[in-house]
């Protein structure tokens, strides 16, 4: 039954999910805003994070909160390696090359995962019980996931706006040549930014296990890629915090649409929501490609 409480519940759940989605998308906007490179293999990094969370839990009994830190570090190093190994060589070249490169890297991660851990889906439950929101049971892990995501984004904000390194990064976004003239090592900024972006993405993958307890398999990243694209386009592809807000909005939209589709019984709500995500991308690109939230 659709009561006001139910709608409120769905909305709040959407907000929690949305902060997580926002975190999962920030890396994409960060990379595009600073390096002007679209991470066409975005979802695979989320997948890696999920696997990290799984193995930490299965082998070491660590909660996803702890493993998300490890995930960030791993993503950070992948970012550095990727920049110096490959990205630095194609920066400034045709867009096609960097698009194909990131796409191929994403595929590579998928295949390594499949080779190492097989394609069978894995999962685990960090049973923490649930809390009661407006009379509906909401898993505590999701609440934690949402809060932690928001905290991480806050830390990022503080870093970008209040620290020297953060300001250096922002100056490079505004004016790479000017920044270089002021003594900013643009190449280091690029490497650092990619490292942060991928670190955040992998960390979000680890946190994803707080929201979904199963389905960890090599190809789980694809829906995340589409979703991240939709959110980034919605919030402005170059604006990380725009993406975060768009993520919030998207979490609510996704939850509500899932609820409406289940009620309307129009086919499989799961798949239909994903289809609508894609339709939304096209709609936003048609009407306002620079994003709703970009001034």
């Amino acid at each position: 039954m659709v009561t006001a409480e139910y709608v409120l519940f769905v909305t709040i759940a959407g907000v929690m999910l949305g902060t997580f989605y926002g975190l999962a998308t920030i890396g994409l906007s960060f990379t595009f805003g600073i390096l002007r490179i679209l991470n066409s293999g975005h979802g695979s990094f989320v997948m890696i994070g999920a696997y990290i969370s799984y193995w930490c839990f299965a082998l070491l009994g660590l909660s996803p909160l702890v493993s998300s830190l490890l995930a960030f570090v791993i993503g950070f190093f992948i970012g550095f390696a990727l920049y110096h190994g490959l990205i630095s060589r194609v920066l400034g070249g045709p867009e096609l090359i960097s698009l194909v490169l990131m796409f191929a890297f994403g595929i590579f991660l998928q295949e390594v995962a499949k080779f190492s851990w097989s394609a069978s889906p894995r999962g685990f439950t960090w049973g923490l019980g649930s809390i009661n929101i407006f009379g509906y049971e909401y898993p505590l892990t999701r609440l934690i996931g949402g809060v932690v995501s928001a905290v991480i984004v806050l830390v990022l904000y503080v870093f970008l706006f209040r620290t020297k390194s953060g300001n250096a990064i922002r100056s490079v976004v505004e004016d790479p040549e000017g920044a270089a003239l002021c003594g900013v090592d643009v190449s280091r900024v690029y490497a650092f930014s990619l490292a942060i972006a991928l670190g955040l993405t992998v960390a979000s993958g680890a946190l994803s296990t707080l929201f979904v307890s199963g389905g960890i398999e090599p190809y789980m990243g694809d829906p995340y890629t589409t979703r991240a694209f939709a959110i980034a386009v919605l919030g402005g592809l170059t604006s990380p915090f725009g993406s975060f807000l768009a993520g919030l909005l998207f979490g609510i939209i996704e939850n509500v649409s899932y609820m409406l589709l289940s009620l309307a019984e129009v086919g499989n709500p799961f798949s239909m929501t994903r289809f609508l995500t894609f339709a939304m991308i096209l709609l936003v690109l048609l009407i306002r490609p620079q994003g709703l939230l970009k001034r």
Partner: protein, 335 residues
């Protein structure tokens, strides 16, 4: 009146003859059927991919969707036509399948293309990457055309015509049809390159903004090649459906097609007609060897190879040869 100036178009004619030779090999030497059959499909797909991405340098990651749409459209058409009380002659059924496949792909390409072709490369990539997921989820979500269970037309074909016809159609005719799509595609690429459209696209590749100021209607040109290539991809899907007689969402939308088409095109040379053929032959042989020695690991080896090509060898074999022998006969032969 089109006067066939053989000398002027000799490069295309040579390529066509070489392709025909391969076809004859496939027909004449049964042992090669398996390998060459798959090869034709991949080369055809790569040429289709090349028609757009090679000529505009915009990456369309969504060819899987157009091929799948063609498979579904063609398959559904066949299923429908064969279910009516007195099924039409085979030729008509197949023709309708191709037509429907092409039209569906054309419509989808117009819709998606019209929106995304006017945006920069990254946004275009976003729209086309989402296309695969979007279409797959639409089919699985609404259950049309068999939904998650897939679409199978084997029985329909056997019942409507006899078993021998069925074997002929799926084993032999399908390959000829795919070859025909390939032939049409290379003709299209050739005609485009030599035309005013080709000049505009060349300018667009170099510097889209400058091309716009110089009078090239960049949006329209991108859209034209996008729609043509998508339509051909749809028809290729129809051919594939006739060959496989079945389609299931997970395989149909597998990302491996995209990767292989990109690898073959880049290996051979983006923007060239001969490139995908050479790239396809090399890749086909490599893949065959790999499948024999390390089954299931193609993508694991392909992905790094693709990354290496991006960084070190972006022009491909034909591209490199053309630059090396610039101004000579070799350059004009390797179109």
């Amino acid at each position: 009146m089109i006067v066939l100036d053989i000398r002027a178009h000799r490069s295309l004619i040579i390529l066509f003859l070489v392709s025909l030779t391969l076809l004859f090999v496939r027909v004449g030497i049964p042992e090669t059927r398996q390998v060459l059959s798959i090869l034709f499909f991949y080369i055809a797909l790569s040429e289709v991919f090349n028609l757009f991405t090679g000529l505009t340098l915009y990456v369309c990651f969504g060819y899987v969707a157009f091929v799948a749409l063609g498979m579904y459209g063609g398959g559904a058409t066949i299923k429908y036509l064969l279910s009516i009380s007195s099924p039409p002659p085979l030729a008509l059924v197949l023709a309708c399948a191709f037509a429907v496949a092409g039209i569906l792909a054309l419509i989808l390409a117009l819709a998606v293309g019209w929106i995304s072709v006017r945006l920069k490369g990254a946004y275009f990539a976003i729209a086309t990457i989402g296309l695969n997921e979007g279409l797959k989820n639409l089919i699985e979500g609404t259950g049309i055309w068999g939904g998650s269970s897939g679409l199978v037309i084997a029985n329909d074909l056997i019942q409507a015509y006899n078993y021998d016809t069925f074997i002929f159609v799926t084993s032999e005719l399908a390959d000829y049809l795919i070859f025909t799509v390939y032939a049409v595609t290379i003709l299209c690429i050739y005609l485009v390159i030599k035309s005013r459209l080709g000049y505009g696209l060349a300018a667009l590749r170099e510097d889209e903004e400058a091309a716009n100021v110089m009078g090239v209607n960049v949006v329209r040109y991108k859209l034209i090649v996008f729609v043509i290539s998508a339509t051909l991809a749809g028809m290729l899907g129809a051919g594939k459906m006739i060959k496989d007689v079945a389609i299931y969402p997970p395989q149909a939308f597998a990302v491996s097609y995209t990767v292989e088409a990109i690898v073959i095109s880049m290996l051979g040379g983006l923007g060239t007609v001969t490139g995908p053929v050479i790239g396809g032959l090399i890749y086909g042989i490599l893949k065959y060897e790999l499948t024999v020695s390390f089954p299931g690991l193609q993508l694991l080896a392909l992905a790094p190879a693709l990354m290496a090509m991006c960084v070190m060898f972006p022009y491909g074999i034909v591209g490199w040869l053309r630059r090396r022998f610039k101004g000579s006969k070799i350059e004009s032969l390797l179109i």
